[in-house]
Structures are given as structure tokens and as C-alpha cells.
Symmetry: C2
Subunit: 79 residues, 2 copies
């Protein structure tokens, strides 16, 4: 099964990459842009067919390695 | 309105970052993992209320700056 992990910076954390993208877009003439925030997406391909087990494994991966919970939030979805 | 741009490497393109993450997870004992692919996610906050116009603007942004269409695919969703 495939699982998608969406990792984004918490709202209170500055995002210089997103800001750089936002500035570039504005300088290209996109004036209707308020802001950009950049995040990561991970596609996990698991050898597991049970959705509950898959989500449990993915959560453990996020907590042990993938996500820095001090500055990042994450969400999981099954594809 | 908020739009989410999901950018991922095309299937035929090697993803060394994803592979590094996969190796790290395996060395932590996650044996049920087949593979990991890493991508980017961009949250665009637009000053626009019409969904069609918003999507049109976002597509233009992707084609002009955000996505390298030689190696990357993207998808848009309205949040």
C-alpha cells in the first residue's frame, strides 16, 4: 500500500524558502499572491495491506525519524 | 484562497533523498518498507476568490517558475 506523509512547518515558524519563492513570483508579475509556505511530501510504499497497520507503521516512522515535532506538523493519507 | 501544489519527481528519475530516507528507516528496523519517494509541497495563499481563476494563476506559476517539467510532475488542489 502507498501512504502519503505531508510535512509542513508550524505556523509560528519562519519559512525563508517559502518567502524566497514568494518574492520570485512577485517579481515575475504575480501580484495576487499573499504568501507561500513550503513543505515536504513523502510517498511511502509499504508491504502491508491492512490500512490500520499501515497508518500505525507510518506514524511510528514519522515520530522516530521523518518529522521534527518541535517545528513541523504532519498528516497522513492513504493513496 | 489557498491552493496546494504537490510536486514530485517523475517515476523514471532517480531520487537519492528518498533512498537515503528509506535506508535510514530500514536501519531503524522498519522492514516492511519497499521504497520512499520525496517531493515538495507548496501552499499558495492567493488574493482571489474564484476557484477557476485561482487554479489558472497557480498553473501559470508552476509552468513559469515552480516546476521543472523535465523531471517533475505536479498536481493542484484547492484547500
Amino acid at each position: 500500500m502507498k501512504l502519503i506523509v505531508r510535512i509542513s512547518l508550524k505556523k509560528s515558524i519562519l519559512d525563508p524558502q517559502g518567502e524566497a519563492i514568494s518574492n520570485s513570483l512577485k517579481s515575475l508579475g504575480f501580484s495576487k499572491l499573499n504568501s507561500v509556505r513550503q513543505g515536504k511530501i513523502l510517498e511511502l510504499d509499504l508491504e502491508e495491506t491492512d490500512p490500520d497497520c499501515g497508518v500505525k507503521i507510518a506514524k511510528e516512522m514519522c515520530e522516530k525519524l521523518l518529522v521534527n515535532s518541535v517545528i513541523e506538523n504532519y498528516s497522513l493519507e492513504i493513496e
